[in-house]
């Protein structure tokens, strides 16, 4: 948790609306865990005012952080116009990331932009347990999107499973269905770590509950502060009155602790 002025050293436009930004930010890179995020200030002016949250995609060279950003609105549009050499005002690493424990059977599930934090997670898991086979399930709308999001997962140790909504790459259909087909009948069970659109996470949570697999999901919401001060990022808690806060209690939650709607 610190504020660091980093520098943009690389900018790649992957598709017409997905960009990859690499920043030198040694202090944040040194302490970041998979699933954590940074709050990035878009500009010095008052509009857009608030920082924007982005997951850490990976920490190349251990002194930089890489983000993968989809242009969806005003702030991300402005980021798309940044140029190499520019300073960036970052706060991070923030939030509670994914649990990395045991060499027990583990599997990652990502959908769309939710794939972003999973590369960092896959690398850390394989670093810690070099002999592990790590199944990684990635889904996206089309081959065009998935090709870029899946870049980097060709690590030894990763078994990649791919599905697209339109069938242009991998199997045709939902990534949760592919997961159920591949592992649903296997004895022993799996531990799942996932990030993606809400409907995907919801059906994944239902699947894991049915199969009695532990499952962690990374949630999103609009944020103002990212550090637990504004209480704007509330999600209803299960079994308990009140709300959890995505920026400090999450973004990664046990799927059983989320009151799915």
């Amino acid at each position: 948790m610190l504020r660091e002025i980093g520098r943009l050293i690389r900018r790649d436009l992957l598709t017409e609306d997905i960009l990859r930004l690499t920043f030198i930010a040694p202090k944040i890179a040194a302490v970041a865990d998979p699933g954590q995020f940074v709050m990035l200030r878009i500009g010095k002016s008052h509009d857009p005012l608030l920082r924007r949250p982005f997951s850490i995609h990976q920490t190349p060279g251990d002194n930089s952080i890489q983000l993968l950003i989809k242009v969806v609105g005003k702030g991300t549009q402005m980021l798309a116009e940044w140029s190499v050499g520019q300073d960036v005002d970052l706060v991070g690493p923030l939030g509670k990331g994914f649990r990395i424990e045991g060499p027990e059977p583990f599997c990652l599930v990502g959908g769309g932009m939710g794939i972003v934090p999973l590369l960092f997670l896959a690398k850390k898991v394989l670093q810690k347990f070099p002999l592990l086979r790590l199944p990684v399930f990635l889904g996206a709308r089309s081959a065009n999107e998935l090709n870029f999001l899946a870049e980097g997962f060709n690590e030894p140790g990763v078994d990649l499973y791919i599905a697209t909504d339109d069938g242009s790459l991998g199997s045709h259909g939902l990534i949760t269905e592919l997961l159920a087909n591949q592992f649903g009948a296997k004895p022993g069970g799996l531990r799942v770590a996932a990030c993606g659109p809400y409907p995907m996470l919801k059906s994944l949570a239902a699947l894991c509950r049915r199969l009695d697999w532990p499952c962690e999901v990374s949630l999103e919401t609009v944020m103002a502060c990212g550090i637990g001060a504004c209480l704007g990022c509330a999600v209803p808690k299960i079994n308990q009155k009140g709300y959890a806060h995505i920026c400090t209690d999450g973004p990664v939650f046990d799927a059983e602790d989320v009151r799915w709607r």
Binding site: R3, I227, A229, A234, Y243
Partner: protein, 311 residues
């Protein structure tokens, strides 16, 4: 080697008997319970911290979405989510007591009785320098806002509180009134030590695709740079209308903004939404005020308070 001992300007100000080492406080609801900013700010460099609004019982807050960004500002409808009096004292005070600056508790109740119990209990514990009485929250039904829009009710509440607490009482005013000076005069007559203003301006935003309000609460409080001119005007009017100190709040994001409020008559200021944008802004503002005083040859911040030149 000769060391040039440059005389640093005196930044101390008084709010009633409350002495602040500098005029920069952090605004309620934007700085958590102080600890959230510990990693970013040396808290002892602040004039003070006003903690998140506290109610007698814990409150869960409103349904999400609770915040939405608007042009140069944001709307919030947090709904006074807070841990309640008991947990505040047990869990938050131990840290705050030793944080190196003055700590003020912001309190909110549904009735005069509730405000009084809060004030009494908080006056009994160690480590609080004052109470900020929120009679202006737009986001909860009872929200104290009834007290904040009716001068007679505001007078009665503060008069009752005055009898129940020895701590400096600051009354936080709502801008959602026709004439804010009337409320300010009423609470000053009732014996409070200072007024702070403004709380958020009631606002709204709509998603035109779904045709739904962007906040689950439909309406919310507008804060940030967008409200600064309104806040500044109100601070100027109130500072002329009452004899007690005025604390300026609203959109302050830089030392320049803060100095505008001091010139308009504020004895101190609070930094709110800007903490979200730059978690270190509060201490940068302290440094910036000091630098401004040096550059303008002022030895003392009190010299510039209310020194607006109108020809």
């Amino acid at each position: 080697m000769a060391i040039i001992d440059e005389q640093l300007p005196d930044l101390q100000v008084n709010i009633g008997n409350l002495l602040l080492k500098n005029p920069v406080l952090t605004a309620s609801g934007t700085f958590g319970y102080g600890r959230e900013y510990q990693a970013y700010v040396n808290l002892s460099n602040l004039g003070g911290i006003v903690v998140k609004g506290i109610s007698l019982e814990p409150r869960p807050g409103n349904l999400p979405p609770r915040i939405v960004e608007t042009a140069c500002g944001m709307l919030n409808a947090i709904g006074l989510e807070n841990v309640g009096l008991k947990r505040f004292i047990a869990e938050k005070m131990p840290f705050l007591r030793d944080c190196g600056t003055q700590v003020l508790a912001n309190i909110l109740g549904d009735s005069v009785e509730e405000y009084c119990i809060l004030a009494e209990r908080l006056s009994e514990i160690d480590g609080l320098a004052g109470l900020e009485v929120n009679i202006s929250c737009p986001n909860v039904k009872m929200g104290g806002v009834a007290f904040g829009t009716n001068p007679q009710m505001a007078y009665e509440l503060i008069a009752a509180l005055r009898g129940r607490s020895h701590l400096p009482l600051i009354v936080k005013l709502s801008p959602n009134v026709t004439d804010i000076t009337k409320i300010a005069q009423a609470v000053a007559d009732a014996g409070c030590d200072a007024v702070s203003l403004i709380n958020t301006l009631l606002g709204m935003a709509i998603d035109i695709r779904s045709r739904r309000p962007r906040l689950a609460n439909i309406v919310g409080g507008l804060s940030g740079p967008a409200i600064k001119p309104v806040a500044l005007r109100m601070v100027w009017q109130v500072a002329k209308a009452v004899k007690i100190p005025v604390i300026g709040i609203g959109g302050i994001s830089s030392a320049e903004d803060a100095i505008e409020f001091l010139l308009a008559g504020a004895t101190a200021i609070q930094v709110g939404t800007a903490n979200f944008v730059n978690p270190q802004v509060s201490v940068e503002i302290v440094a910036g005020i000091s630098q401004y005083l040096q550059e303008s040859g002022e030895a003392n911040v009190r010299n510039i308070i209310g020194s607006l030149v109108i020809s």
